[in-house]
Symmetry: C2
């Protein structure tokens, strides 16, 4: 394998020869073999090991193993300990996502600070095949079928053409030792089923499965290159405006293409949407109609689709566009009007600093954990506490509606405005909102 | 299943309700269930059964079963007997390909003659999934992963959203009987391995596998729509000229795109090529270089790529473009010159009617079965017979080279010209070819 590894580096990754490289090493067979191959080739490498402290003594034994391995090869090694569980719970991430984020962030920081040109990871052909099959069983698009990129920014995967069988053979031939990772049992279950039950049968059907898979990946990547090129051209025409929190798309651009659905899908797929028919219908819908994903909201606004990011999205009832003047709500009609000079808010009429609002505003019901800053009061208050203090009946509570900007409450409609949006000396544009 | 079948027809294939339909029925469970569903829905159907006479009594029993089934439902039925083996050997086709060709040809003829609007076939979701996996194990591009089209010209597959499980359940519920097909063992081996060993594990990993697969197919089809649209635009620019036997592509068009390889692949993949790097290199190669597939040849000609169809392609040694004036060959230099007035060919110099030639000409060795029409003789002669009559030594035979147009011999170079290309009264352009 050393010979074919050398050939592979020479033909496709020759830039590694003259680079300072950091190898991400877990202590498992793949990263141990990658390290050994790079060492044998005389590449300029150092090692980086993350101890995620998720498996107690086992994690520490992995760390000790990596330190020993580095010493045996006389290669520099960096080790970082993470409190992965705390990071996951702070960021509301799965343990797996948290570990991934910590790992990649640390590698990037190390590379920047210590001038490593590239970080090598030990993904191989079977990883790629398993990822393909996992995505396939879940349902995916072409982007889920094209595998892990060989080079992605500073991350390089030199083992991608090699099978786990190649890697095991090399490890045995070179009398290498490695650590088996018992973690990640749920992913392991899935990958193990594929590895032991599905892939062997596919290989029996076609012994050159992995090479054929490589052919497929190459063709799919070629196809993606064409899609990307034509999407770039399309988005150049379609995008009207981009701000920090939103993007505006011209509906006319979608109407010009032959297959609208395809362009809708390609344009919005990275924003977590799944209701493709609804989005297609949005093109011809009334202004103010919208479709949400877990992270984004797409709103019809005259000749445009307005895409905005939503944090911790809550179910919304209505959307209010920047140019709205009159909106019918279950509580009555809301009027919006730009006015001159500061005036005092009351329960039915509020005056807010328009520049502090992030349009589109939304109207929604109260949700668990809602907090606001009641106008005229110091500090914040739970909306549930406010309801209680104001002696709201159960019906009052159910019928209460919140006017929000980016999930911040602007107004408990018809009841109490929020301090954060009030008119101050700095206000340039005053928006008057009245409940009829 | 009848209800969901009705819904599917109503929502996606409503045109079937007012059409005259022919159902392709083998007697197997899938086509029996399709027939029964259409019958129950009251669609206007007739049946068409092919007896390929490949399994003796079994084939006849299938035919008898279909006749009986049609009578029980009181539905018109057409049966055709084919001598599939003879057709296969005549056309040098596999039995499977021959049966496929015969079947689709007959369906089309029936539909045309008897005014059927559509032909229904019983492909279902598991067929689609198996096809995906088979193509995947062989290595493919996106076109091998998008499944069987629901509607393709007059052919419609109304069972595509339904699984084999749905179909079996319906057959049992309705006490239907059907014939099991023992043929096609090699395909069956492959499909059986997938059906019994791979797909159940994938379904265990994800019980909604078939729905998720449908999602994947939809996304991939969306992607293909974008690729098709941009390839249409690209080919509009790239294609310079199309004749009955060839197409000319502007190399400049390939040089303008971002990812040349992708466009090379998408442009030429339907012509059976596999050497994508060679074709990419052709863009910058000398005029006269070429790459062949089993059916086509792509030749560099100045600023163009010339694609020509080749029947029963034989290995070629050299290619001669229309504008060539001097070509070095192992026999000496060939000179090409347009001349005025008729002159007499001899062994070293021939005069041919240029308009009868299909460029590019090729130079090749003699192959088994080669025949030509010796100039000045009546009728044709085997080249091997000519060699024998002329008392060619073994070395003479080995060194002999044939100048060919579309596989027809123009000249046994330096020896004897062919009658078919000689200059006549009708000749407008005389091409003089000399061997120095």
């Amino acid at each position: 394998m050393l010979e074919s590894f050398k050939k592979h580096i020479a033909s496709r990754l020759a830039f590694l020869n003259s680079s300072k490289l950091l190898i991400a090493i877990s202590g498992g067979i793949d990263s141990v073999v990658l390290t050994h191959l790079c060492y044998k080739m005389g590449l300029n490498v150092a090692l980086a090991h993350c101890n995620f402290n998720l498996r107690g003594e086992e994690s520490d034994a992995d760390e000790a193993f990596v330190l020993q391995f580095a010493e045996a090869l006389d290669v520099e090694v960096f080790v970082e300990n993470f409190d992965t569980k705390a990071y996951a719970s702070d960021g509301k991430l799965s343990i797996q996502m948290a570990a991934r984020e910590l790992r990649y962030r640390w590698f990037e920081a190390l590379a920047t600070q210590l001038q490593f040109d590239y970080v090598l990871t030990a993904h191989h052909a079977d990883d790629n095949l398993e990822t393909f099959l996992i995505n396939f069983t879940r349902g995916t698009g072409i982007e889920g079928l094209i595998g892990i990129p060989e080079v992605n920014d500073i991350f390089v995967r030199p083992l991608l053409p090699f099978s786990s069988q190649d890697i095991l053979a090399y490890a045995k031939q070179n009398h290498l030792t490695w650590r088996d990772d018992s973690s990640n049992a749920s992913t392991k279950y899935l990958r193990n089923k594929l590895r032991h039950e599905v892939i062997p049968v596919l290989k029996a059907i076609n012994p050159t499965l992995l090479q054929n898979f490589q052919t497929t990946l190459n063709h799919l990547n070629d196809t993606i290159a064409i899609v990307d090129e034509s999407m770039d051209a399309f988005l150049n025409k379609a995008i009207d405006n981009v701000s920090e929190t939103s993007m505006t798309f011209k509906i006319a651009a979608f109407k010009e293409v032959e297959n609208i659905k395809s362009y809708v899908y390609e344009t919005f797929k990275i924003f977590g949407f799944t209701q493709w028919n609804d989005i297609e219908n949005l093109l011809d819908a009334q202004s103010g109609k919208w479709v949400s994903s877990a992270t984004h909201r797409l709103i019809k606004d005259r000749d445009f689709l307005l895409l905005s990011e939503i944090e911790n999205a809550k179910p919304i009832l209505q959307v209010i566009l920047e140019n709205a003047s009159k909106i019918e709500t279950p509580l009555g009609i809301l009027n919006f009007e730009i006015v001159e000079g500061p005036q005092k808010s009351d329960s039915k009429t509020i005056f807010v600093d328009k520049d502090l609002l992030h349009f589109p505003l939304v109207i929604r019901e109260k949700e668990e954990g809602d907090v606001f800053f009641p106008l005229g009061m110091q500090g914040k208050k739970k909306v549930s506490k406010y309801f209680k203090d104001e002696k709201f009946s159960l019906l009052d509570k159910e019928q209460a509606r919140l006017l929000c900007s980016n999930n911040d409450i602007v107004w408990i409609i018809g009841k109490r405005a929020d301090n954060r949006f009030k008119v101050t000396e700095k206000t340039k544009t005053i928006l008057k909102i009245t409940l009829e």
